[in-house]
């Protein structure tokens, strides 16, 4: 078997169709007949190839649908999403449906209060980050052995005042909704709604709150707001604060206990001075020292004690400086665990403290039991969202639209604790707002109102009406309606919690099971079959179809009857997927003789297995997820070293030299690419971003603009050198690589040069002109790469050049098999250049097209990375060839391509975080958002590396694949169609590639599901799971449509020239 034809092999054995000579003699006549038969056979083989190609696409489509079904079921149970409504409450519109039903009084009156008469004009809101409830109350041991810790009894002022002057102050446990990170907490504390992983609103990428919230309401009411301390506020509420008085401090330096606190204190007290009292209305002061002491030392440390004592002094000073019109609120936004960290939902982390103080003495207690602050946080607590309606109504603001909290009893029950009418009023207002929000949310979601809460609400309204007829402040009816409104609010809160915060574990398990079964099938299909995979297709597809049909029918029937609690759609999806899996099993394992144990064999198989499995296990650890880019580099270098070692063992010198050369090149290219980094927050301080001009910008540095030009200069030449190596730089290759590709890259460089000029304002041209020129250039490149490129790909000839020369007769040469029948005349020698790599070079055009499109969509640094990816892919192909891995269908090629795709995802300025998505790239070839193009463009930017690697997958079996036609197949299997054999190899490589990504996806899915209570869920595991799922779906589609789809045309064009 001519496994390794020398570069640019001469192919005198094949008679290309183009050089068929006419009949000359009786012998030739019979040959002509034979040729006719051969042509018919070739046509039949071509048709067989086309049919089987479609069948294979069908199998890949089924695999994709299986993945989508699994991901859908898991996601439904796992990803908690909440829609952000844009509605805002306004001062002059009360939340009631019926305008006539509105109570008389301070209606829409900014002076007296919007919805309810205001109690305070001004407020000082002090947030002591991580102020846990047990810090604020006297030490109470839960069991005998426990003794007071260093953090106990150091901030007694809150408890003292609440006990000594109950009318002036109250202290309550203040329970946070996880995740207990400051940013999420501030959202909850100002909007009054529950945090979910995705707040699906219009401003998906930014951090600013676009929901209705207390700060925005105060701002719109014309209040002067001051913010001091933690700069998280600035990113959440940009432009809302009085710039002259506001002082924000960096919040991430947890080693620094004092800068923020000293800054807040320094700027707070001058404002409390009576002569400055007109300058502000509400002050938000955010102290970080306690939190930082916790992070740095843990709570049980002298530093924490002294910090709490400092806070105690500060609060006493504020009390001293406070006037009667001003409300003082001190609270923690979350607690801290035993190590002083937070983010999760353990008791210690969610139990913060809330204390309110006023010199006027308006706070009340409704019963004797509640006079003292509770001993333990779980005794009698308020959710943190309750602050929002409380503060809104106390300051005479409308309640923010999305609020789900309830007014805090102590603040509205009057000094005597018996002002039930007032309490009923505020609870009625709050309930009406909650109801209005629920109604709008139901409309946005396309669902109706919750029946039980409607009942509760109408019961409360009934009670209210009866109470208002005989109105008196001690009326039991007011009290009863108050209770009912309260019940309605808490019920709605529970409903929403169920909707937004509870994982649907059965649905998650169903998704995981489907994905897992999909992997089992894929393992058998990709690695466990000895037979031609294309022969399996008809049976497999019909069984899968039957199974899916049966599943869908029974799912619909059972779902409609109502035998399941799941919705009909989910149930149908589940049963269809399960049915197709059950159907596929007997089709695949029909003949046990066709199966092998799908265990890896040899060093390469085990290496591929090791890379896939160890990476999958690594995703259980947040560290390995954070440092994935470095780990992938480690794997790639390991592969390169193994390739070098294996190449050293090759017996042929050319194989050895070429193999070692490309292994070294492969490793060095990977390391060079690794210098392009965009660090994620968790990688600091051990990482330095190089992707942009600086770590705080998202534009490229001027020197980076040279990268596209370097790519233009070198990349086509490098690609050319790989073509020249097998004498394949013939035919269309000149035009394609030497001209079109280079032109496209040059235009891309111009584009990015203009972009840089725009950013830096180097040119005296208006921004609009620059933009329209840029859009034109970008569209030109995309048209060249994807429209013209695809068209040319469909009709292009293989990269060969055929020379026919006539030689004088040479009787010593034995006749060739095919020319045997020809008369002994002047011998015709056919020289074919580029014969050794005819499949590979033809197919690689497709990779070039997509490389050009991908390069356009990357920032300059990423363009360099994609160029390196293309070089690494080519080196990989040479390594595979010199180590005889292309002809043995080794799993290592497709899996290293998978690793390369993931690696370059990180090298093109991405991370497995939502914030690293480069949304702005949607505007490279467009000036406005256009569906479906804008999302597709962002996809091409984000997953460009994976897409390119996926398209290169067929090359792992096509690169330098020896040409085979039906008259040259081994005698052992004469009936075989070599083209279907090729197809089978391609689909095996494709399914191996999918197997890698599906395993990674299953691993990230399972870990995310398993670690759903992990405090890093939202920051690390969830984003990685989402990335894995999207990558799998994207690559499934790209492999099916572009990669395996493209094999059809490359094979047809080779067959057209060389026969079948």
């Amino acid at each position: 078997m001519a496994a390794n034809p020398p570069p640019g092999a001469m192919g005198p054995l094949w008679t290309p169709n183009v050089s068929k000579s006419g009949p000359k003699s009786p012998a030739a006549q019979s040959r002509h007949k034979q040729t006719g038969v051969l042509d018919q056979k070739a046509l039949a083989l071509e048709d067989e190839f086309k049919t089987k190609h479609l069948g294979v696409l069908g199998v890949l489509a089924w695999i994709m649908l299986l993945h989508v079904a699994g991901i859908y079921l898991f996601t439904k149970g796992f990803l908690l999403t909440r829609m952000v409504l844009e509605n805002k409450s306004s001062c002059d519109v009360l939340p009631f449906d019926d305008v006539l039903n509105q109570p008389q009084g301070a209606l829409g009156n900014q002076e007296k209060g919007c919805w309810h008469e205001k109690t305070f004009d001004k407020a000082v809101v002090i947030i002591i980050d991580a102020l846990r409830y047990d810090f604020t109350v006297p030490f109470a041991s839960k069991d005998e052995s426990e003794t007071a810790h260093l953090f106990h009894d150091n901030i007694p002022v809150l408890y003292e005042t609440a006990v000594q002057n109950p009318a002036n102050a109250f202290l309550l446990p203040f329970i946070a909704d996880p995740p207990t990170t400051t940013l999420q907490r501030l959202k909850g504390l100002t909007t009054g709604t529950l945090p979910t992983f995705i707040d699906a609103g219009s401003n998906f990428a930014g951090t600013a709150i676009d929901e209705d919230n207390l700060v925005a309401q105060l701002h719109h009411a014309g209040k002067s707001l001051v913010h001091l301390g933690d700069d998280t506020w600035q990113s959440l509420f940009p432009g809302y604060f009085n710039e002259n008085l506001t002082h924000a401090y960096d919040s991430f330096n947890v080693w620094d206990l004092h800068t923020v606190d000293n800054g807040v204190t320094e700027h707070l007290f001058p404002l409390l001075n009576p002569q400055n009292s007109t300058k502000w209305d509400v002050i938000f002061g955010h102290y970080l020292g306690v939190d930082h002491a916790g992070h740095r030392y843990g709570p049980n440390h002298a530093a924490m004690a002294s910090k709490l004592q400092e806070m105690d002094r500060v609060i006493r000073q504020i009390i001293a400086a406070l006037d009667e019109k001003t409300l003082l609120v001190v609270m923690g936004d979350h607690g801290m665990d035993a190590k002083g960290d937070h983010g999760g939902e353990s008791d210690d982390e969610v139990e913060a403290a809330l204390w309110m103080y006023s010199k006027r003495g308006i706070f009340g207690r409704t019963s004797q039991d509640t006079i003292l602050p509770p001993k333990f946080a779980r005794d009698r607590f308020v959710p943190q969202i309750d602050l929002v309606p409380t503060l809104s109504l106390l300051l005479g603001m409308p309640i923010p639209f999305n609020n789900l909290g309830s007014p805090i009893e102590e603040a509205f029950s009057g000094a005597g604790g018996n002002n039930w009418a007032n309490m009923a009023t505020v609870n009625r207002l709050t309930s009406a707002q909650v109801k209005r929000y629920q109604h709008q949310y139901g409309i946005a979601r396309g669902a109706g109102d919750d029946k039980e809460s409607m009942l509760l609400y109408s019961a409360a309204e009934e009670e209210w009406k009866s109470a208002s007829k005989s109105f008196s402040s001690k009326s039991s009816a007011a009290r009863a309606s108050n209770e009912l409104y309260r019940k309605y609010q808490r019920h709605t809160l529970d409903v929403c919690r169920g909707l937004w915060a509870r994982f649907d574990v059965p649905s998650m398990i169903q998704g995981v099971v489907i994905l897992f079964a999909g992997i089992i099938l894929l393992v058998i299909y990709a690695r466990g079959l000895k037979m031609d995979r294309t022969q399996l297709t008809p049976r497999l597809l019909s069984f899968v179809g039957a199974g899916a049909g049966a599943g869908a029918a029974s799912g619909t029937a059972l779902g409609l009857i109502g035998l399941t609690e799941m919705t009909v759609i989910d149930f149908v999806v589940l049963l269809t997927a399960a049915g197709s899996i059950i159907g596929a099993l007997p089709a695949i394992v029909k003949k046990p003789t066709n199966l092998t144990v799908p265990l890896p064999s040899g060093m390469w198989g085990w290496l591929a297995f090791f890379f896939t499995v160890s990476q999958s296990f690594g995703f259980a650890s947040n560290s390995y997820t954070i440092w994935e880019d470095e780990i992938l580099l480690f794997f790639l270098t390991t592969f390169g070293v193994c390739a070098g070692i294996s190449s050293m063992r090759q017996k042929q010198t050319t194989d050895r030299v070429l193999g070692v050369y490309h292994s070294v090149l492969f490793v060095i290219l990977g390391r060079v690419a690794s210098f392009s980094r965009l660090c994620r927050e968790e990688q600091m301080p051990f990482c330095r971003s190089t992707y942009y001009a600086s770590s705080t910008s998202s534009i490229s540095a001027p020197w980076q603009l040279a990268i596209p030009f370097l790519v233009t200069l070198f990349l086509p030449s490098v690609v050319r050198s790989f073509y020249v190596g097998s004498k394949s730089y013939e035919g269309a290759a000149y035009l394609w690589i030497g001209f079109a590709f280079r032109l496209g890259l040059f235009i891309t460089s111009l584009f990015w040069m203009l972009e840089g000029a725009d950013d830096g304002e180097w040119l005296p041209i208006s921004k609009e002109t620059l933009k329209s020129v840029r859009v034109f250039l970008a569209q030109l490149v995309l048209a060249l790469a994807l429209a013209a490129g695809t068209g040319a790909y469909l009709y292009c000839k293989p990269c060969v050049s055929i020379n026919v020369t006539k030689q004088p007769e040479d009787p010593t040469t034995p006749p060739d098999p095919i020319t045997a029948g020809q008369p002994q005349g002047p011998r015709t020698t056919v020289t074919i250049l580029g014969f050794g790599n005819v499949y590979g070079t033809r197919f690689f055009f497709l990779v070039i097209n997509f490389a050009l499109a991908t390069i356009l969509m990357q920032k300059p640094m990423g363009q360099g990375a994609i160029a390196l990816l293309l070089c690494q892919i080519l080196s990989l192909l040479e390594i595979l060839d010199t180590n005889a891995l292309t002809i043995s269908n080794s799993s290592i090629g497709p899996i290293i391509l998978g690793v390369l795709g993931s690696f370059y995802f990180f090298k093109t300025g991405h991370q497995a975080t939502l914030s690293s998505i480069q949304w702005e790239t949607a505007f490279i070839p467009l000036s406005t958002i256009k569906y479906p193009w804008s999302p597709l463009l962002v996809m091409l930017n984000t997953f460009g590396a994976q897409i390119l690697a996926a398209i290169a997958v067929p090359l792992t079996v096509l690169w330098k694949r020896p040409l085979q036609t039906h008259d040259r197949v081994p005698a052992s299997e004469p009936s075989k169609n070599p083209a279907t054999r090729l197809l089978s190899d391609v689909v095996q490589a494709a399914s191996t590639h999918i197997l890698y990504l599906a395993t990674i996806n299953l691993a990230t899915t399972m870990w995310a599901g398993h670690l759903r209570r992990h405090l890093m869920l939202y920051r690390i595991f969830s984003p990685r799971f989402m990335m894995g799922s999207v990558v799998l779906a994207v690559v499934d589609v790209v492999l099916m449509v572009v990669a395996v789809g493209g094999v059809r045309w490359s094979t047809l064009s080779v067959g057209e020239v060389f026969g079948w």
């Binding site: 496994a3 390794n4 079959l529 000895k530 037979m531 031609d532 092998t596 064999s601 040899g602 060093m603 390469w604 198989g605 650890s621 947040n622 560290s623 390995y624 954070i626 440092w627 470095e630 780990i631 580099l633 480690f634 270098t637 390991t638 390169g640 070293v641 070098g644 070692i645 294996s646 050293m648 063992r649 017996k651 042929q652 010198t653 194989d655 490793v667 060095i668 990977g670 390391r671 690794s674 210098f675 180590n883 005889a884 002809i887 043995s888 269908n889 080794s890």
Partner: protein, 283 residues
């Protein structure tokens, strides 16, 4: 493809030089050598364990301080326990020495190794010759270890992801330690025999007293990189520490295990298995 090459045209000179592969190296038979060969791995691990705290405290300083000690331990292991290059007691030396001289004329040890091979055969009792025959390979091995192996290993470390812009001293010192561990005895025992080194680059040496340690230290260093990214916040997770400790442990294990009769003389199977499976897999 393999079947092709056996029949294929003119064999390249390298292939012919490779053919008589150098046999595995065994520990010398003297009692001192036997004892020290067992003490040596223990000594290395003790060095590693006693200096560990210092290493965590100040890697650069400690690595620099321990490098002479490590070199002394390694070179004494080579001199005491191993046959110097060209003096291998097997029949091979006479065959390989001329081939050696022919293929690598640039090296100083090629011809000299051959000469000493003969000398050792002629008069092994002459103590001066004996010492001289060991001193020269020892010097050569030290020189090559520091001049060649260290930069190469430093480069490999960087390629595997060691920082390039920072921690240069650590990288170079780590490479020096790994080089002294793995390369000293290899060079001492084999000189610059091109056939042997081709086998070394192909991980195709038979397991023996020098190769086991070298391979073990490489694998150990590879596994040593695994704990670095974990967020345990331990000071010993800093860059070169785990890699070096892995290399030390790997060396000790490798050099001990590869001398056991179970492994001695065996080669790492790489693709032979795959060739057998090829028929099955191509379907």
């Amino acid at each position: 493809m393999a079947s092709d090459t056996s029949a294929s045209g003119p064999p390249t000179p390298t292939v012919s030089a490779e053919k008589p592969s150098a046999p595995p190296v065994n520990i010398l038979s003297s009692p001192v050598a036997r004892i020290y060969s067992v003490v040596h791995p223990a000594l290395l691990l003790t060095l590693c364990a006693t200096r560990f705290e210092g290493l965590v405290e100040n890697p650069t300083k400690e690595l620099l301080k321990t490098l002479p000690w490590l070199t002394a331990i390694q070179i004494s292991y080579a001199v005491i326990c191993l046959p110097p290059a060209g003096s291998t007691s097997s029949t091979e030396s006479s065959v390989s020495a001329p081939a050696d001289g022919k293929t690598s004329p640039r090296s100083t040890s090629g011809p000299s190794g051959g000469r000493h091979g003969k000398a050792s055969k002629r008069k092994y009792t002459n103590s001066w010759t004996c010492i001289w025959s060991r001193l020269l390979p020892a010097t050569l091995s030290l020189a090559l270890t520091f001049l060649l192996a260290t930069p190469v290993l430093a480069l490999v470390l960087v390629l595997f992801g060691a920082p390039l812009t920072t921690h240069n001293a650590e990288t170079v010192l780590c490479a020096a330690h790994m080089a002294v561990l793995s390369a000293t005895s290899l060079i001492y025992a084999h000189g610059t025999d091109r056939g042997v080194w081709n086998e070394v680059w192909g991980i195709a040496r038979p397991a023996d007293a020098v190769w086991g340690g070298a391979l073990g230290s490489g694998l150990g260093a590879w596994f040593g990189a695994i704990p670095i990214p974990l967020d345990w916040d331990r000071p010993w997770q800093a860059f070169p520490i785990t890699i070096l400790v892995g290399a030390y442990i790997g060396y000790a294990l490798g050099s001990l295990v590869s001398r056991t009769p179970l492994l001695y003389g065996k080669r790492v199977q790489f693709t032979a298995e795959e060739l057998g499976n090829k028929e099955k897999k191509t379907n």
